[in-house]
Point group: C2
Chain length 346, copies 2
């Protein structure tokens, strides 16, 4: 096979504060010959199969703000975690044509990668390989690490998860439930709430967009207060949740997606609750969790096994075609996805 | 001796949100005969010598809000930690006339207390007994516990303390310095800043009311960022400090005095920094710390010894006369005190 084009999505314009739109990204077709493209020593050519779209990318589109990952460069391809199939290999590589690998790639159909940044996938019967971008991958370890290391769930505790029907949230609730906690989740559509209750084993769930008030929702669904609030959304949800936290409760702060496209950041007023209730609020990053060998070992033992045995339910929101990645990314930030947002490239 | 009156300060009116004023308290003179007042079994009559005024009392004046200590009752005496001399004892007590004790008393000259709630004071040469309400007492263990257990200072780290010239803050900075940290403090007058720099050994200090901006002050005084922010004040200070925190930094939240009299609570906008920098924000209460025997043991070993040896400098702001307690309390909340606010009753 030899192709003549590579569809690549470029970062076109900094959306600044406010909503990211499709116009901030550009789908381009670049001349490309898979059989002829030059590979340096240690490089391999990947035919990309799946891309992971993640909320943190919104932060990388803010070229003027300092965040934990470098901003995308205007005019350059957007980047993402992805799964590729090795199509050709350069000198001094150990991977072989046909190997499936996980790595950091571009929003594109083809990508030349340094072999040393890639991880060869283990294939498990009945487990979709795209799960390596979700429950078995970065969102998975995020859910596991945030809940276990910071949340430290104990039997009988109430665990509340916002963004519960998303890539991270879906897993958090199930893990907490397996630890004997009562699990409550919120999401932005009634369909998602149904998934939480009927598929993901949440004990209670509500649609945060249609409840009378967040305060009333907590009173109803967390009558004994909250021991762990796994926070995916920040903003007003965090503010109100603070007033329902129990003594010595924990808030692993995973993200604040409600603020990523907000032209003005919401101001959280109830932080004095941290003293009154001796609450721990702690942020964390998956990159740190990957550095914790003990945790990674436990994650593999616990979660990978549970998924292989079908004891954890997982969902993917798969959009086909790299050219649809920009709209899917905007959709992810607006709540179009249930479970992990994936682009099926090939 | 027999007296005919007991001056007692009553809680007169709930100040609600907004500033507490002297009119919310009432100084009364009650008929009282120290030699005749009835003592039940296990009770002793205390002649109060010192009272501790503390910011948390403002919370107890909010009769409608839930806090960690019960609200004061309208028309009843205000309460406080205090030091008293045993004047008379009831049946079945082990204390003796003349013993000095620490306990929970009223804003008054005389108080009948249950012996079992009292602690007999150890007297150290050259150490004022009122220190038992400050550096050797509740503010002391608060400073020590918050810094050590939550802050976990490491040599070479930058520790920033707000409310640094107060009862808690004065000690935090000195303890952090003894652990090899670089210590930066802020306070609300130039005189307090001078005390921090010239007496309490702070490496840098600023007057938060007169700096060009808090952001500029942090840039100047914490050029390497902040590893531990010991937060006494909350509000805008916390918000701006969040943007100067280092990776894996810690914020022991001791209190939020800037908000205690605010008619509207300040909204903190920079909480996404907790994720970006993996910050831990954790509230704590002295009551919990007293329950940690290991900590109390270490506190006694470290701090009491350092104070006895004169290696820790401490300050008291002593106001004479129980009738001046209401104005002193308002003053405490407005920053009139340097070091521990004490009322010398007798
Ligand atoms: N710390 C880390 O290392 C790390 C790693 C991965 C993810 N994260 C963070 O974790 C969070 C979830 O990530 P994810 O990958 O699992 O994404 P996700 O939940 O699969 O997708 C994002 C979801 O956020 C919800 N959302 C959007 N706007 C919202 C708003 N204003 N208020 C409340 N919810 C809103 C939407 O669902 P609804 O229909 O419910 O609104 C949307 O489906 C994000 O904040 C992300 O940045 C952090
Ligand atoms: N968690 C616990 O168990 C515990 C125990 C004790 C104390 N605390 C808390 O720790 C903090 C300090 O207590 P403390 O006993 O040491 O009191 P303190 O610092 O001796 O006295 C209060 C000081 O707060 C400062 N202040 C007042 N309004 C302020 C504002 N708007 N912004 C910034 N600073 C302001 C004033 O000094 P300036 O001149 O600097 O403004 C005042 O002197 C308080 O928040 C208190 O509630 C907590």
């Amino acid at each position: 096979m030899s192709t003549t084009t590579n569809t690549v999505v470029l970062f076109k314009e900094d959306p600044g504060r406010g909503w990211v739109e499709e116009k901030h990204m550009e789908v381009t077709k670049q001349d490309f010959n898979a059989d002829a493209v030059e590979l340096k020593e240690g490089e391999v050519l990947l035919k990309i199969k799946y891309l992971s779209l993640d909320p943190y990318m919104r932060g990388r589109m803010q070229t003027k703000a300092k965040s934990y990952s470098a901003p995308f460069e205007i005019g350059k391809p957007l980047q993402a975690g992805g799964i590729g199939e090795v199509y050709r290999v350069g000198k001094g590589t150990t991977l072989k044509t046909g190997d499936l690998v996980l790595g950091f790639v571009e929003w594109a159909q083809w990508f030349v990668a340094a072999e040393k940044g890639l991880k060869k996938l283990e294939i498990f019967d009945g487990v979709p390989i795209s799960y390596n971008l979700g429950v078995l991958g970065m969102p998975g370890i995020t859910a596991y690490g945030g809940l276990m290391k910071i949340g430290e769930p104990k039997e009988g505790e109430t665990v509340y998860v916002s963004g519960a029907a998303g890539a991270v949230g879906l897993l958090v609730g199930q893990l907490a439930r397996l630890r004997g906690c009562r699990v409550v989740g919120s999401a932005g559509t009634d369909d998602k709430v149904k998934v939480l209750l009927e598929e993901a084993g949440y004990d209670a769930a509500f649609n945060y967009k249609t409840v009378k008030s967040l305060d009333a929702a907590f009173k109803e669904h967390c009558p004994k207060g909250i021991d762990i609030y796994f926070d995916n959304v920040g903003g007003e949800m965090l503010d109100v949740a603070l007033t329902h936290m129990n003594v010595h409760s924990r808030i692993p702060v995973c993200g604040a997606i409600s603020q990523y496209n907000a032209s003005e950041q919401y101001g959280v007023k109830n932080l004095m609750q941290t003293v009154i209730k001796r609450i721990k609020i702690q942020g964390f990053l998956s990159t740190d969790l990957y550095g914790d060998q003990e945790l990674v070992k436990n994650f593999t033992k616990d979660v990978v096994a549970l998924v292989k045995e079908g004891k954890i339910v997982y969902k993917e929101h798969i959009v086909e075609g790299i050219e649809n990645a920009p709209s899917a990314f905007v959709g992810l930030l607006k709540g179009a996805n249930t479970g992990k947002q994936i682009i099926k490239v090939a």
